[in-house]
Symmetry: C2
Subunit: 374 residues, 2 copies
């Protein structure tokens, strides 16, 4: 058996005001070519089919047409779950009907997960879920974290699975050790959203979505497919791909990447305005973040670059780099007292430091304010 594993389609995504829909249509067509060439037996989509709970209707039509082609026309089973960007209820609508043609769409997590039972494998669809939902479904107050929730779910699965078959789990989660990129929406602060790899002990293949890097985790049986397109410049170094997962009987025999070549790449470039407008970069229609290395003032640099590079998504100046040091700067500022801070501000605005008289005046004002606060 051969499965294609993808995830994080984010249909309808807008990056810096630009709709990715045509790029998405193109890359889905590339995936269709791989599906046909590899002659896969099924397709896994591990969540984030849409970019938001109410996607634009153009994205709704694109997903409908894609699933129709893969499932009804090519007659391939599809194993799909909702991700944190999807609306569980909206994606779930109609799933009872889709099953008739082996389109398995798990929008909502159910109390008991029923496996999709194949001749030599069981596939478990675990849609994205928050701990509170699992706590309620399982009536277990001990479930407080994403880790607890996934452990509880996989424990339940292990208690009923048919261990003579290959065990495949499809999930959408942040597995500990995974490397996130800018385009995954922050789920929660700190590490409370992490699930450890031990939650998936015993599974033969864990098909994950959520992190967009295809190598976000390094593990013999746990894989992120990564998104089919770059959705942020932090992904510009990724080689996007889908995974082809092969089984011989109930044994996992191969996990292989097939690269995806987008219609337009997303990449970072730098140079002076003069350079960039005289020596044109290759593939000027790509989505670009350009860092201008000029030091002096520039008049309308974006207007000058656009005719050559129509899809610039981000433009920055070299001297603005200081803003990336904000964290150190903040710690430094925390050490100063009010007068020192005001003096720094005054100097920034007026180009000269406070006089003795001005320091005294400001000190009096600060004292008065503090008095009123008490």
């Amino acid at each position: 058996m051969k499965l294609l594993h993808t995830a994080d389609l984010h249909l309808g995504k807008i990056v810096s005001g630009v709709s990715m829909l045509e790029d998405q249509r193109y890359i889905l067509n590339e995936i269709t070519k791989i599906i046909k060439h590899e002659e896969v037996d099924g397709i896994i989509i591990a969540g984030d089919l849409y970019d938001r709970s109410v996607p634009p209707t153009s994205a709704v039509s694109l997903l409908n047409d894609t699933l129709f082609h893969w499932n009804v026309e090519l007659k391939l089973p599809i194993y799909a779950i909702s991700g944190n960007h999807d609306s569980a209820e909206r994606l779930n609508f109609g799933s009872a009907w889709y099953k008739n043609t082996q389109l398995f769409m798990a929008g909502k997590l159910m109390k008991t997960i029923e496996p999709i039972s194949l001749a030599e494998a069981e596939i478990w669809l675990v849609p994205y879920h928050e701990p509170a939902l699992v706590r309620e479904l399982m009536q277990d107050d001990e479930i407080r974290s994403y880790e607890d929730a996934m452990q509880a779910i996989t424990k339940q699965i292990r208690s009923v699975w048919d261990s003579s078959k290959a065990q495949i789990l499809v999930g959408h989660a942040f597995v500990a050790g995974g490397i996130p990129s800018d385009s995954e929406r922050q789920l929660s602060v700190g590490n409370v959203d992490r699930v450890s790899t031990t939650a998936f002990d015993g599974f033969d293949y864990v098909a994950l979505g959520h992190l967009h890097h295809p190598h976000a985790i390094s593990h013999p049986t746990i894989y992120y497919s990564g998104s089919p397109l770059k959705y942020s410049f932090s992904e510009s170094q990724d080689q996007k791909s889908v995974r082809i997962v092969s089984f011989s009987g109930n044994k996992l025999t191969e996990v292989r990447e097939v690269p995806l070549i987008p219609q337009k790449d997303m990449r970072m470039e730098s140079g002076t305005l003069q350079d960039l407008t005289t020596n044109l970069l290759d593939h000027p229609e790509d989505y670009l973040a350009i860092r201008l290395e000029d030091k002096g003032a520039l008049i309308d640099p974006i207007g000058k670059l656009r005719p050559f590079y129509p899809n610039i998504l981000h433009l920055e100046r070299k001297k603005l780099e200081i803003t990336t040091q904000n964290e150190d700067r903040f710690e430094e500022l925390m050490k100063k007292d009010d007068i020192e801070l005001f003096d720094q501000f005054f100097e920034h605005v007026r180009g000269e430091s406070l006089t003795k008289k001005q320091v005294d005046l400001m000190t009096a004002i600060f004292n008065e304010v503090r008095k009123e606060e008490n």
Copy 2:
């Protein structure tokens, strides 16, 4: 063959800030009872399944569960179209899969409508559409109005139909002569949204949605089922119902109403605050519009009524009736000149008319203002 005809479910509707979802769940269950008792062979839903293009997820789940019960569990064909309140694209999602169990969901109008072909009938699903869409689909610049659009569609249908079978059309439109209620969103100004009954010449039964009154039109073959619930006080006198439509072979034999009794009625009541709080009305939990007949000042009347009538949606005072005469009043006012109008205002505020001196003063002021305007 026996069909049940309903429409305008408006799932997820909110009336005066109150969600109708539980009333909708109740009435859908009442319809289920009728479906079973009448042993119908199919169900028509003539548009406005939802109240808005992006309904709340609770409404999405309710529609999913209802359609699942009727179509998959009771194994009944469903013939549904989108209305002006629905999103054509969103409702259309998955329709290719629904067909497998004879759930026919026409969200988007297509260039050529294919009939659903039964042994002795053809059913044509004509989703809500604006003239511009039909103009584009048919490549016919002459299509400017709703009337043109529907005439073009039915002409096309007549050119291909099998006249040996009963011809049934399911549509969502404002048919000329129909009586609207407050809860249908105004489609357009004037009569440009009207479709004449001749557009449906030759059809044996036209199952319409859009107008909420079950007798919005009186015609031997064209029927509005009306909404299953009252959605505005202008519908308070309606007896809501579903229609049972029977055919013998290809002949329409009977069109019959089966009344629907809601969990909570929607009705208008009047009385003094004293009366209403001492002699309690029947069914005090109904959705009420109350007109207080008291003449003097009242302190917190809604607060005094709520404990007895928890679902008051509207409260008005008798003396406010004058506002309903606004139209006549406006015409009367248009005849007066500035001084007359000001005199009326002055008298209203001060209780006495302008003196001669005041009239002269105001005339001078008006003249000065007019001079500045020129």
